[in-house]
């Protein structure tokens, strides 16, 4: 775009200055996407490139395009961000390990091919006539100019693309939306009634708290039932899965003398 403007001899000095400052930064950020390890950093650099492009648009007189670029693509990058968190994980970096054999040469061939195609096509592209210039296009105002083109000449293309996008969005929702299990659909009221009508009233008033009647009230110490046995239900399942729970049997009532001795030993040290 700027190259064209140079040839027509229209580039003002401030515009040239901002181009020479921002363009290298944008290119560096684009290269950075390939280099950085963490996917979130790549998404951030992507957002930065979008903002730089928006500044270029605005500097070239396409204010509407520039602002809409920011509004739309910041939201899009935010989505990317969420996808990263959901699919890759919060902290994980890219792994360079090849999971599928032979994918790498195919990928390299495909990307080189596409790059060659793009370069050859873009280098031969031309308007087929003289560029009208932004002043002519903006003569009725930037927003009005875009609107009149979008809703007259390109209205079908516009409508088709929006239909396509809506279809894609609905498809994504259908794919992502899992059927809820019957349990998840029960209301709070139904669940509370069910608690009292089940086989056992043991959990009618909620699960027992950890450490009740036990020697310690820490979260990883199971509560003791009236007969002195530890209650498995009183300790969080997460802790159990992590293996952070002290063996409950150690604190059973009939085991107490041993536990006392062990603690005395510990304190004596």
């Amino acid at each position: 775009m700027n190259q064209l403007a140079f040839e027509v001899g229209q580039t003002a000095t401030p515009e040239a200055v901002q181009f020479y400052i921002l363009a290298p930064i944008a290119v560096l950020a684009a290269l950075g996407i390939l280099v950085v390890k963490k996917a979130v950093h790549a998404a951030l650099l992507m957002a930065w490139i979008m903002i730089t492009l928006a500044i270029f648009y605005i500097a070239n007189g396409a204010a509407f395009l520039g602002v809409v670029q920011v509004v739309v693509y910041t939201g899009a990058v935010m989505m990317l961000f969420l996808f990263i968190l959901m699919l890759v994980g919060v902290d994980s970096s890219d792994s360079l390990k090849e999971n599928l054999k032979g994918v790498r040469p195919i990928a390299i061939t495909a990307s080189v091919g596409i790059a060659l195609l793009l370069v050859s096509l873009i280098s031969r592209a031309s308007l087929g006539r003289e560029a009208a210039g932004i002043e002519v296009m903006n003569s009725f105002g930037n927003v009005e100019g875009i609107a009149s083109l979008l809703f007259t000449k390109y209205v079908w293309a516009f409508e088709f693309i929006s239909a396509l996008l809506i279809t894609a969005a609905v498809g994504a929702m259908v794919l992502a939306h899992s059927q809820k299990s019957a349990d998840a659909q029960k209301s709070q009221r139904v669940k509370s009634v069910a608690r009292f009508r089940g086989d056992s009233l043991g959990t009618a008033a909620g699960l027992p708290g950890s450490g009740v009647f036990a020697r310690h009230n820490a979260v990883d110490v199971p509560a003791l039932l009236p007969d002195g046995t530890p209650s498995e239900l009183s300790v969080s399942k997460t802790l159990k899965a992590r293996g952070d729970v002290i063996d409950g049997g150690k604190y059973a009532l009939d085991q107490l003398p041993q536990a006392n001795e062990a603690e005395k030993d510990f304190e004596g040290r």
Binding site: K38, V40, H41, L44, A47, I51, A54, A63, F64, V67, V68, V70, V71, T74, G75, M78, M79, F81, L82, L85, V90, D91, G141, N142, V143, S187, R189, V190, V193, A194, F196, R197, G198, D199, S200, L201, G202, T203, L225, P226, D227, T229, S231, E232, L233
Partner: protein, 426 residues
Amino acid sequence: MNEFQMTTTDLIGMDPGWLIAVKALLVFAICVVLTLFSIWAERRVVARMQMRLGPNRVGKFGLLQSLADGVKLAFKEDLIPKAADKIVFVIAPLISVSVCFLAFAVIPMSGPVMMFGRETAMQLTDFPVAVLYILAATSIGVYGIVLAGWSSGSTYPLLGGLRSSAQVISYEVAMGLSLVAVFIYSGSMSTSEIVASQDRFWYAVVLFPSFIIYVISMVGETNRAPFDLAEAEGELVGGFHTEYSSLKFALFFLAEYVNILAVSALATTLFLGGYRALPGLGFTESWLGGWFTMVWFFAKVLLFFFLFIWLRGTLPRLRYDQFMKFGWKVLIPASIAWIMIVATLRVLSAEGAPQIVIGGFTAAMVLLVLAGTSIYERSKARAEAKAHEVPDMPEPTFPLPVMPTGRTSAAGIVSARSGEGSERNE
């Protein structure tokens, strides 16, 4: 009207560089001072609503309390958690705070005034897509919150950041849609032209549904109670800023309040006639050489700010699923329907349709809305009744205590024991 609007935009366009610099400095100073004042005001007003006194020690009426707190905050130890992503952790508050001031650049705070011997208006700049620019600025601002949440390397901030991103994506849609009706009516997206086009009626009156939708979504957009899920202190400790301290936390604090003021200022500009006086008080607009319009502007902004405080003092926090359901299933469809109605009315009147057609269309729409709500209410009542149906289960058998006569209720004890036994087996 047209001449006036041309002059406002032209006046700003003719500003020399030094005047633009002075105005930029003024806008920045106004934002910061107003933030200090509004923090104090919020604490005092909430205190009054809760029958307390609020800060009243530092300065007259405790006015300097925020300043003292700010100084204290700056001298605190600046911690960066070990698990944090250092660069992003530092950048996040900077993004938040530098973006939140951007919106004020296009807000018209006064009509034409004399400033250092030049005629101008108290508005930094204006362009044809100024309102969209504000939307863009706020959507970048959310990055600060999301990145802060992610980079802290800790669970609660991450949850806060994720909530915030989902929240903003959903409520920005409703907010953008509520602005569309204003664009249709004023025929412009430039802030000064929108203010100029409200010389007869404020859009808060003409486009009342849009106004309501905007006010709701602006509370959602700024993470304020009852929509403050991103920093819900009862659930997420401090939410996205849990791990922040010292100046970095102060920056988030500043950004939050400047954001509140910015959305209030936008609401004033789009719906309450901006710097224009109340209807019937138009003569005050020329007082003090036009500077009195700034009093009107800030009176309206502070009115909105009071609304924020009032909401915080009154409403409990929404549950997350209710909040999302409200945004997607109520606000956005209502916005779209309302825009269709507004656009149809606008086209009808622009094409010179007879009064009876316009009136008939309006009446049909009102009837449709009434019918829709009554059908909705009925189906909702039915769904609720269904959800409350008690499942088919045996009546409970409660264990009975040992009777003092010495006799025991055998059934009771048996059922109590069996209850315990099954629990142990699980």
